[in-house]
């Protein structure tokens, strides 16, 4: 068995280098437990959306509607809570609705063999319309009961509930992808659809599964965000969409063969979150933050490509 080469650790090393730089520059505010917990809470929604995208990218597809699913999850949960639906049911309904969206995405891709790029772009646009119709284009915040903001603000033994939820889902996803037949099949489909089909794997159900999981996790992330900020924005998801894919791409550099993996995605999300957090503490203007973050993403992928040639 051959070990991982240096390039696989490059991203992880870079992550710690970033931590070290911020730690040295602002030890008093950056390297504190409080900031660390705060950081994990900020990072959790992005990490969840990225986790969803990982499922879809594992089977070599794209879900461009993932941002819309985030918005839909938040808006649905918030609107239901205003109507007096119990909080747990609000969350369940939001996740279920998004799961259905993902299922439709998967069905269209699998049944009609349409490029997922196009299918999800179309369905995402439809969703945006639906969400706009639900909210009238405004931010939903009037009449949101206090109980709804509980999951977003609750701390268990000092650790934010959102952090725990994301951590739990990451563990589950890690076990799912690596140690269940369904997870192995997703990797197989991503590796070579034709080979997987000939080997007797049902491509149809794999696609349904990956897209459903992706949208469901995104919907949950949306609901959690809405709960944390106490409001639901019509376009809340747009900001997560590109960042999530960036996290997955950075994560691909961690795996040996360059395929998406759960652990890698977590590192990718952490890199992005730490950058945002640290740069904010350093009072770097946000336009510079964007330039730096984008540059780092490209750099990570270049480093991997160069490493792959060896």
């Amino acid at each position: 068995m051959r070990g991982r080469s240096l390039k696989n650790y490059g991203t992880i090393a870079a992550f710690f280098a970033i931590l070290a730089v911020f730690g040295c520059l602002r030890p008093a505010s950056f390297l504190t437990m409080k900031n660390f917990l705060n950081l994990t809470r900020q990072m959790a929604p992005l990490a969840l959306v990225a986790l969803g995208a990982t499922f879809v990218m594992t089977i070599n597809e794209f879900d461009l509607s993932v941002g819309s699913s985030v918005s839909l999850g938040g808006v649905l949960a918030a609107l239901l809570s205003i109507r007096g639906v119990p909080v747990a049911a609000c969350f369940l309904a939001a996740v279920a609705a998004c799961l259905l969206v993902g299922w439709v995405n998967g069905f269209l891709v699998a049944r009609f063999k349409i490029l997922s790029f196009i299918t999800t772009l179309g369905l995402g646009t439809v969703l945006d319309g639906v969400i706009y119709g639900l909210t009238g284009g405004t931010t939903v915040f009037n009449g949101i009961p206090k109980a709804f903001t509980l999951p977003g603000s609750l701390r268990i033994a000092g650790i934010p509930f959102i952090t725990l939820a994301a951590a739990g889902l990451y563990l589950a996803a890690y076990a799912f992808m690596g140690h269940t037949p369904a997870g192995r099949r997703l990797y197989a489909v991503g590796g070579n659809v034709e080979a997987a089909r000939i080997a007797g794997i049902r491509i149809f159900s794999c696609r349904l599964l990956a897209f459903s999981l992706c949208a469901a996790v995104a919907g949950l992330a949306g609901a959690l965000v809405a709960s944390r900020v106490g409001s639901a924005n019509t376009t809340a998801g747009q900001g997560y969409f590109l960042q999530a894919y960036a996290a997955v791409f950075i994560g691909c550099t961690v795996s040996k063969s360059g395929v998406p993996c759960v652990g890698g995605t977590l590192i990718g999300a952490a890199v992005l979150a730490v950058l945002a957090n640290g740069l904010t503490i350093l009072l770097i203007p946000s336009f510079l933050q964007n330039i730096l973050t984008g540059g780092i993403i490209i750099l990570a992928v270049i480093v991997q490509k160069i490493g792959a040639k060896e």
């Binding site: 269940t180 037949p181 099949r185 197989a188 080979a195 000939i198 080997a199 007797g200 794997i201 063969s257």
Partner: protein, 514 residues
């Protein structure tokens, strides 16, 4: 000498792929290059094509040493053209455009002159007697037709040295003969041809000289007129006394009867009743593949042999007819159902449809048995790895470990991995489409033995090959396919190639070829 390479060394991860290897080619000669699995043939080709740089050694072109590493662009500029085993075509482009790929398109005022391109391509095709629809996207062409397009591309510009890596792997005898014709004509015009093949008969009949590689070294350079198959195999394996490759078939009729008693698995004969595919390629085929024997299917390219297997396996739509396994008809077949029913399909397109190229040997071996190695929703990696390891030893797959990416293995070992995958599902019906394609002599023999052993255990084995000698070597019965249907079924006892070919051409060509 057109090309003279001396003392070539190339290492990968500290392992020698080439070691003090030498090769010389004259203009106008057809030179055979043979060697077993991983003997260094592919590495040598890639060095000549500029894909890899040699670690040390010298390459002289027309007597002048090339300074430094031979780069891909330089290799092209010298007139070296390589046809790799796997096709290198843009699927959506037409044959014409693929042929022109990499050369400046003729233009007028910035507009591409498609007519000029087409005419030139078609003229070349006509010169060589190649009949392929060059206007259609190449993804609609069959493998041998794609090979023809690649040959046209190689010789369209100035071609001084043409290197062909297993070009006849998926070609029928007639197409092979046509290809040889083309090669001879090219050689007569002064082009040197390096012909890499596992098919020793072809090498012996076609070439002027032969270089034999063994473990990255030049084991022998022979004049073809002094060479025999046994001699070549001896040099390749390092044992000059090794038994000839082709053993007489049908030796142990008695052995087969006793084998029936030791039959482990349930005998499940395969029966196909009046099967027609929706696209009309397979027409009304009826076939039985009895348990315990190898049923060979021979047909020329385009006879529908691949498509027939695909229909049986459920990856091609069926219009009418029925596939019956052990007396039970299969409704609405699909590959996943086929696997559940104990079918294994070794398909013709190894890279495209069998292997996960980024995946490890392990991933590829367990691909069809993920469910088998799972209990209560958990994939048992340890159990799967143990089984895969056993399989790797059983099939003698040469690798650095199960985690090695499968694409790093040689063709023969890749094919063994595909067989390992099938074996792990414990099939009772084998559908093999060109299973020894681009596989070295030793692996080919091992695959034959494996299939014979499987038949003895009571499996039904269907064996499709475009290599007639191979079919006659291992099949118990031969079904001859032509124009989408089975035209004859013969017991393979004292069957001559001529008889079988007569049946193939009988319907297609009015017997003129025989």
């Amino acid at each position: 000498m057109l090309l003279e390479a001396t003392g070539l060394d190339k290492q990968f991860n500290g392992v020698y792929a080439l070691k003090q290897m030498g090769l010389s080619l004259k203009a106008g000669e057809i030179h055979g290059l043979v060697g077993e699995n991983g003997a260094g043939k592919s590495t040598l080709i890639k060095i000549l094509g500029g894909v890899y740089g040699a670690d040390s050694g010298e390459i002289c072109w027309e007597g002048k040493p090339l300074s430094g590493r031979l780069e891909a662009a330089q290799s092209r500029a010298l007139g070296i053209r390589i046809l790799y085993q796997e096709n290198m075509l843009v699927p959506a482009f037409s044959g014409v455009e693929n042929i022109w790929l990499g050369r400046p398109y003729p233009t007028k005022n910035g507009r591409i002159l498609w007519d000029v391109m087409r005419q030139e391509a078609e003229t070349k095709a006509a010169e060589l007697g190649i009949e392929v629809n060059l206007q259609a996207p190449v993804m609609e062409l069959r493998p041998p037709q794609k090979k023809c397009v690649e040959i046209l591309r190689a010789i369209l510009g100035e071609c001084r040295l043409l290197i062909l890596d297993e070009p006849t792997a998926s070609l029928s005898d007639r197409e092979t003969a046509m290809l040889f014709d083309v090669m001879k004509r090219l050689a007569a015009k002064g082009t040197a041809i390096l012909y890499v093949s596992h098919r020793l008969e072809e090498v012996l009949s076609l070439t002027h000289r032969i270089t034999v590689l063994r473990n990255g070294e030049t084991a022998a350079v022979l004049d073809t007129k002094d060479a025999t198959k046994e001699l070549l195999i001896g040099h390749m394996s390092g044992m000059l006394t090794r038994q000839p490759e082709r053993e007489p078939k049908r030796q142990e009729e008695g052995g087969r009867n006793t084998a029936k008693e030791t039959c482990r698995r349930e005998a499940r004969p395969l029966e196909v009743r009046a099967l027609s595919s929706r696209d009309g390629i397979v027409k009304n085929v009826s076939l039985t593949a009895p348990a315990g024997q190898i049923t060979g299917i021979f047909g020329l390219c385009g006879s529908g042999r691949t498509e027939l297997l695909e229909c049986i396996y459920g990856c091609r739509r069926i219009k009418s007819g029925e596939v019956v396994l052990n007396g039970r008809g299969i409704k609405k077949s699909s590959p996943s159902k086929a696997v559940e029913n104990g079918m294994a399909f070794i398909c013709e397109d190894r890279r495209g449809k069998a292997l996960i190229n980024g995946g490890s040997l392990f991933d590829n071996m367990v691909l069809a048995s993920i469910g088998r190695f799972s209990r209560r929703g958990r994939f048992l990696t340890g159990e799967a790895a143990a089984a895969a390891e056993k399989m790797q030893e059983f099939l003698k797959i040469k690798c650095m470990g199960l985690s090695q990416p499968v694409e790093e293995l040689s063709g023969g070992n890749q094919q063994k991995a595909v067989f390992a995958r099938a074996l792990l599902t414990e099939p009772s019906v084998w559908l093999c489409d060109e299973p020894t394609q681009a596989v070295d002599v030793a692996s080919r023999k091992e695959i034959h033995r494996l299939l014979q052993a499987e038949a003895k255990k009571g499996c039904a084995v269907v064996f499709v090959s475009s290599d007639l000698t191979e079919i006659l070597e291992i099949a118990d019965e031969v079904a001859v396919m032509a124009a989408g249907t089975i035209v004859a079924r013969l017991k393979n006892s004292r069957l001559s190639p001529k008889e079988v070919l007569a049946l193939c051409y009988g319907t297609e060509e009015g017997r003129k070829a025989v």
